[in-house]
């Protein structure tokens, strides 16, 4: 997974980003002001920077204007939901922005999207979960070296669970992410597909049912 530099002067927010990104396997480094960010870029050589706008010494905008980030993609974190700020950030060459407060799943999806765009080939080829080997880019899953037939929906569900591993996703959230927001159906559909996935790939130990919440891929 990717190396990510988190720059935010609020320790609480910085830690929150770190905890969430660590869950899905990213390696993170923290900086708390503009000068620390420049240091960390040189030392840590991140693949992505999450940059708060309002930080001491050098604010996020001037940091990007000065080109401190080089070729590294930048996602701005902004506490203000001012359109002007977002536009300014994007104009300066930011790849995306995230407004506080943010949702963990949204954060991970945006980070993934920016990483995928910036490093087209970097999608990790094989995920090994128990006895199963899953290749997301080829949309193939194997169990004991034998290819397993999965329906489109089953594969998309598996992909969402892998990408948000270690985070519990509610049935409704899974419906929204896999079936789409306009899908009118029972959350029981999710249960049926989860059962099939567990059986086909022998994932009973990894796809956990979390009481009152939903499902979580634990690796």
């Amino acid at each position: 997974m990717a190396k990510i530099l988190i720059v935010d002067d609020e320790k609480a927010i910085n830690d929150l980003l770190l905890l969430n990104l660590s869950l899905v396997g990213h390696t993170c480094c923290q900086a708390f002001d503009g000068n620390g960010a420049v240091d960390a870029i040189n030392r840590f050589k991140p693949e992505l920077i999450l940059l708060d706008v309002m930080i001491p010494y050098q604010d996020g905008f001037s940091l990007v204007e000065n080109g401190a980030q080089g070729d590294i993609p930048v996602i701005f974190l902004t506490a203000r939901d001012s359109v002007a700020d977002k536009v300014k950030g994007l104009r300066l060459g930011a790849d995306d922005y995230i407004t506080k407060p943010f949702d963990a799943v949204e954060l991970i999806a945006r980070v993934d999207a920016v990483l995928r765009r910036a490093y087209k080939s970097s999608e990790q080829s094989d995920f090994i979960i128990g006895d199963a080997v899953i290749n997301i880019s080829q949309r193939k899953a194997r169990l004991d070296n034998n290819e397993v037939e999965l329906t489109n929906r089953e594969f998309e569900l598996l992909e969402v669970l892998i990408k948000n591993r270690n985070i519990a996703l509610s049935r409704q959230k899974l419906l929204d992410l896999v079936w789409g927001y306009d899908y009118v159906g029972d959350t029981r559909t999710v249960d049926v597909h989860i059962t099939k996935l567990r059986k086909k790939l022998r994932l009973e130990k990894y796809i956990k049912t979390v009481y009152k919440l939903g499902y979580r891929m634990e690796v």
């Binding site: 927010i13 830690d15 905890l19 869950l23 506490a79 963990a104 985070i167 519990a168 979390v210």
Partner: protein, 467 residues
């Protein structure tokens, strides 16, 4: 209809009517007067001519007693008189028993029809052809059968009348036209301030509150303009202060929203994390710590806000405070927190008593000492002095990091913090100096800050009315 038009038409109608009535009365008075004078002259002249005729007659009678019957002789006398008076525009006639003996003018039989009594003097005003003639007839004294007729041309008074009428018509036109022009200009001049005021009122109503009228006359309109400007001024002043207070409130709300966003984000983020994530025990503890810190920050924020809200009301009761007691209370409150940071608190008081609200002044001192302590490093000391120099002064001094001039200017603004992370370490929310400034204002005191980067800060509360 506009005001000036109303006044214009009204004045014009009255003026023209008065002028014309006056002209008419003047003309007819002059005419009557002239006619009377002409009549008087005619009567007098007739008497004079008659008496000269009578004397001629008497003289002739001396030679010829029957003369009054001798038509040819009478005619001769008349003709000599007539020839003499004709040059003066007078014509004469003589009748005997209503029969013409001598006449300068044409047949005038019908004239007698108008005479009421031929035995007395008659005056007849008559138009013949295109002339106006005044006849005066009377019997010759001592000769009742003779009637002496005198005639005078008085066409001149008619001419005079028509002449003067023509003159008045021309004068009327000239006077009306010039009155129109002068009245128009005068009214325009008088009503101009009204138009100006009206336009300005419309402009001010549309939002140009800085507009003023410029009318420098001293009449009622000038006074109205003055009052109008006065009104516009207070409206503008109120608008500005309302705008300012609305802006300040908006700024406060914006800042408050911003201030709340970070702890809110943490609370939501960490509770989601604890609920959904399969994190390690260690990470869960980190999350819980941040969660409780954020809650604490929100609690502090709401408490400080509450204080600031309560301070909006005026102090009703000022009491005599013992300075020693106040400083003791300060030490008791601050000691534990200062000890942990290894910062000493020194107090010096040369003033024994003080008028104020004890609880509020303690809160003010606590805030100032806390700020001083945050600027200081371990081992430093914070000094609080209460003394008198012209007026009572409370002073808090530290030897800490100090501030820049621009930071001093912003220090009393709500939520302004020089070092965010350092302030938060001690649970600050950025309202301390706002509260200090508010308490100072409630005591009619003035805040004075002296500071230099690197050498320290002195904050003075200078009481202006209290001792």
């Amino acid at each position: 209809m506009k005001l000036w038009k109303k006044i214009f038409l009204g004045t014009l109608i009255i003026f023209v009517a008065a002028f014309d009535v006056g002209a008419f009365l003047l003309t007819s008075f002059a005419y009557d007067y002239n006619r009377e004078r002409e009549t008087e002259i005619a009567v007098r002249e007739q008497s004079v001519i008659l008496s000269s005729f009578t004397s001629s007659l008497l003289r002739a009678e001396h030679f010829d007693p029957e003369i009054s019957m001798n038509k040819a002789r009478l005619s001769e006398i008349m003709s000599s008189l007539s020839n003499y008076y004709r040059k003066q525009g007078v014509q004469l006639a003589l009748l005997v028993n209503f029969e013409h003996i001598y006449s300068d003018f044409a047949d005038l039989d019908d004239l007698w029809l108008e005479c009421e009594d031929l035995q007395s003097k008659n005056v007849i005003d008559k138009r013949v052809d295109d002339k106006r003639l005044l006849f005066v007839s009377s019997p010759v004294p001592d000769y009742p059968q003779l009637t002496f007729v005198y005639c005078r041309d008085i066409s001149a008074i008619d001419e005079f009348r028509s002449e003067i009428s023509r003159f008045f018509v021309i004068l009327n036109v000239i006077v009306i036209v010039s009155a129109c022009v002068l009245l128009f200009l005068l009214l325009k001049h008088i009503t101009r301030p009204i138009t100006v005021l009206n336009d300005m009122a419309a402009e001010i109503a549309d939002g140009s509150y800085d507009k003023r009228v410029e009318i420098k006359s001293s009449d009622e309109l000038g006074q109205l303009a003055k009052s109008f400007n006065h009104m516009a001024e207070s409206v503008e002043k109120n608008m500005i202060s309302l705008k300012k207070s609305a802006e300040d409130k908006q700024q406060f709300i914006d800042d408050l929203a911003h201030e709340m966003k970070t702890p809110m984000t943490s609370v939501i983020g960490y509770s989601e994390y604890l609920k959904n994530a399969n994190g390690s025990k260690e990470n869960q503890i980190i999350a819980l710590e941040h969660l409780s810190d954020s809650m604490l920050r929100l609690k502090n924020l709401s408490e400080e806000l509450m204080k600031l809200t309560l301070l909006r009301e005026e102090i009703t009761e000022l009491k005599l405070i013992e300075v020693d007691k106040l400083l003791n209370a300060l030490e008791v409150t601050m000691k534990p927190s200062l000890d942990t940071r290894n910062i000493k608190l020194l107090t010096e008081a040369t003033l024994e008593y003080f008028v104020g609200d004890e609880a509020l002044l303690l809160s003010l001192l606590t805030n100032l000492v806390e700020n001083a302590a945050r600027a200081s490093k371990s081992g430093d000391c914070v000094t609080v002095r209460v003394y008198e120099s012209e007026s009572a002064i409370i002073e808090v001094e530290d030897k800490g990091i100090g501030m820049e001039q621009e930071e001093i200017e912003k220090i009393t603004a709500p939520f302004y913090r020089i070092d965010k992370s350092r302030s938060r370490e001690f649970g600050g929310v950025g309202l301390g100096m706002s509260i200090v400034s508010r308490i100072a204002t409630l005591h009619n005191a003035r805040l004075e800050i002296e500071s230099e980067k690197g050498t320290g800060t002195v904050v003075r509360i200078i009481f202006t009315t209290l001792k």
